[in-house]
Symmetry: C2
Subunit: 342 residues, 2 copies
DNA sequence: GAAAAAAACACAATCTATAGTATTATATTA
DNA sequence: TAATATAATACTATAGATTGTGTTTTTTTC
């Protein structure tokens, strides 16, 4: 007795194609995989039947048979807020577009929790801004799964990392302010528990030193990147006796807050204060004064990570672990001007 | 002679677990799938071995065997710009978070080209803002693949659609302006080739009519949603003799542009002109005057689409095709005020 | 304690492909 | 034309799970 099917609507398999085209399954498989040893007549016939039956090979069967997977998983935290949304989407764009071009499937794990990662059947994995989830990273490395960490330089593990040049970016920014004649340059830091903020602060210090400007603690405002702390930093800075003529702010979000406070206090930007931010968040374009800032190559960072993953996913590759730093770029707009003499 | 393996590092399979636990493969499978007919002793032993071997069942083999797939594919165009990035990421957040909770795999197809969709092995598909790709949609429907279209009401096809209440949102917005005493309310439309813009325009017209205000063509500015056209609309509007005291703008992006132009022309918002936008893009928060706007429930829209897909993916479901409209909401901030008497 | 019922477990088919080897058909060479 | 090389094609094992059916073991009942 013939087996009764669970589902009446069977999916069309390679077998159906083979039967209809009166060839073996192997031949159909060869046609699908463009393997040359197929006669012209049969190839044509098979292609015709595939078309007719609208046959699509099962990716699950293919991957089970080949043992290869072309799934790239992107693990990303799920934050709110426009500043993050720009950042996240740019990254996703870089990654997604290249995956698309390379015919890699992009699996998105948007999560705050410890993502449930089924490591089997996983071609490669990209961690974006995942901190404090070290065990997961260790698991991945343990299983020899191709892996890239974005924007989080993990020094002590043998893992691929791609990040932005925070130090260099800060240096260029501060250098620019000094080149405009500013000597009293303040800095509003981000959360110094993060690499980015620390490195930006370092860059700031380097350039002051290089220009023989003594670092003045009263010009340093340490924050946690929050709006509130940015605001009070801005108030202190703007009301200060002998205040700075310029400020380098560790994020655009905070820089916009500073501009907001300046407006409220009746100060003019850039006449009374020159400002450089960091991130190149497009929100900086919509205020009354367009913000000069340091651009992070987010899309490129995404692309580079996919490139690397792709190479690592190739069987028998000899790729070695790399720690890459991508250059950032100063985008000059309207929020800075030369120091007023006097 | 034993067969030589291509890859020396074999993945750990259910067979390895079975052998080590001294039970049959079936029993291991039963343990994995929490099927009750397994003795306590064996279950414990199997779980122990699974733990020890760090065994993860192959999703490909599982899906091949069951014929079920829990992969949801999100097809989304790849636009640039901050306004889009907010919109896109909110949608992705809604979709991604729920997929995560429901243990669905989210495959992201970010593309401008006609996405290559391998329909086999595809559990469900969500089209976001895909227009002019009707053939693909037809293919999906043909193959009986669970499908939801976001923010694009397709009237003539029997397909699930989820969209925002543009008409209602516009009505509430215009109603609010009228309730503040405004009678001369202008409208800057978006691209009237799109449903959203048309419907918002409709809403505007309804409310004028309802309040016995004759529609005045000189107060209608038709644009293509672009910055440039928004700008010239704003200039005309603001320099007009007997100009409007309020304006309803079909997008926040354009509304911000109007505020920008007003600032340049020395007009005060909201004293000289009350403005309501549409979208609730957070960029509206960072200018000197926070924009009053209509919020679209983007996250909810994403979530609803996943809910629906999830139900449709259940075998033997009786879900019927739905066309859902989600309510939008007026967010009152600082860009409107009662009409100055006189 | 034997028979019947219930619980555990194992065997083998199945899902849909790929790929190595074997076989057949065709073309080339002597 | 026979012998050999080559191009096409088919056969079959394999990938790693699930699942229906059959068998063994344990428990219950009289």
């Amino acid at each position: 007795m013939s087996r009764i099917r669970k589902t009446p609507s069977k999916t069309i398999s390679i077998e159906d194609v083979a039967r209809k085209a009166r060839v073996s399954i192997t031949t159909v498989s060869r046609v699908i995989n463009k393997i040359p040893t197929v006669g012209e007549k049969n190839r044509a016939k098979v292609l015709e039947v595939i078309e007719e039956l609208k046959f699509k090979p099962s990716i699950f069967a293919q991957r089970l048979a080949t043992g290869k997977s072309n799934v790239v998983t992107l693990v990303m935290p799920q934050y709110e807020g426009i500043f993050y949304s720009f950042y996240a989407l740019e990254l996703i764009r870089g990654i997604g577009t290249l995956c698309d071009a390379l015919k890699l499937d992009l699996l998105l794990h948007l999560t705050n929790r410890q993502a449930f990662l089924n490591l089997s059947g996983l071609g490669g994995i990209i961690f974006a801004d995942i901190i404090g989830n070290r065990q997961q990273l260790l698991d991945v490395l343990d299983n020899n799964i191709p892996c890239v960490v974005i924007n989080n330089f993990i020094e002590d593990l043998n893992v691929n990392c791609i990040a932005v040049d925070n130090t260099g970016g800060a240096e260029v920014a501060v250098n620019y302010l000094i080149s405009l004649g500013h000597r009293k340059v303040a800095h509003i830091t981000g959360d110094l528990a993060t690499q980015a903020a620390t490195q930006r602060f370092e860059g700031y210090k380097h350039i002051l030193e290089k220009n023989n400007i003594t670092l003045d603690e009263k010009y340093i405002f340490r924050t946690d990147y929050s709006r509130g702390q940015a605001r009070s930093a801005a108030e202190n800075l703007l009301k200060m006796q002998d205040g700075p003529s310029a400020v380098f702010v560790s994020s655009d979000a905070m820089a916009l807050e500073v501009m907001s406070v300046a407006r409220e206090l009746g100060k003019k930007i850039p006449a009374d204060l020159s400002i450089v931010g960091f991130d190149d968040n497009p929100s900086g374009l919509y205020g009354p004064v367009a913000l000069t800032t340091v651009r992070q190559p987010l899309i490129k960072m995404g692309e580079e990570s996919v490139k690397k993953i792709n190479l690592l996913m190739r069987p028998g590759n000899n790729e070695k672990i790399e720690k890459i730093i991508l250059p950032s770029e100063l985008i000059i707009r309207e929020s800075c001007q030369p120091l007023n003499p006097g």
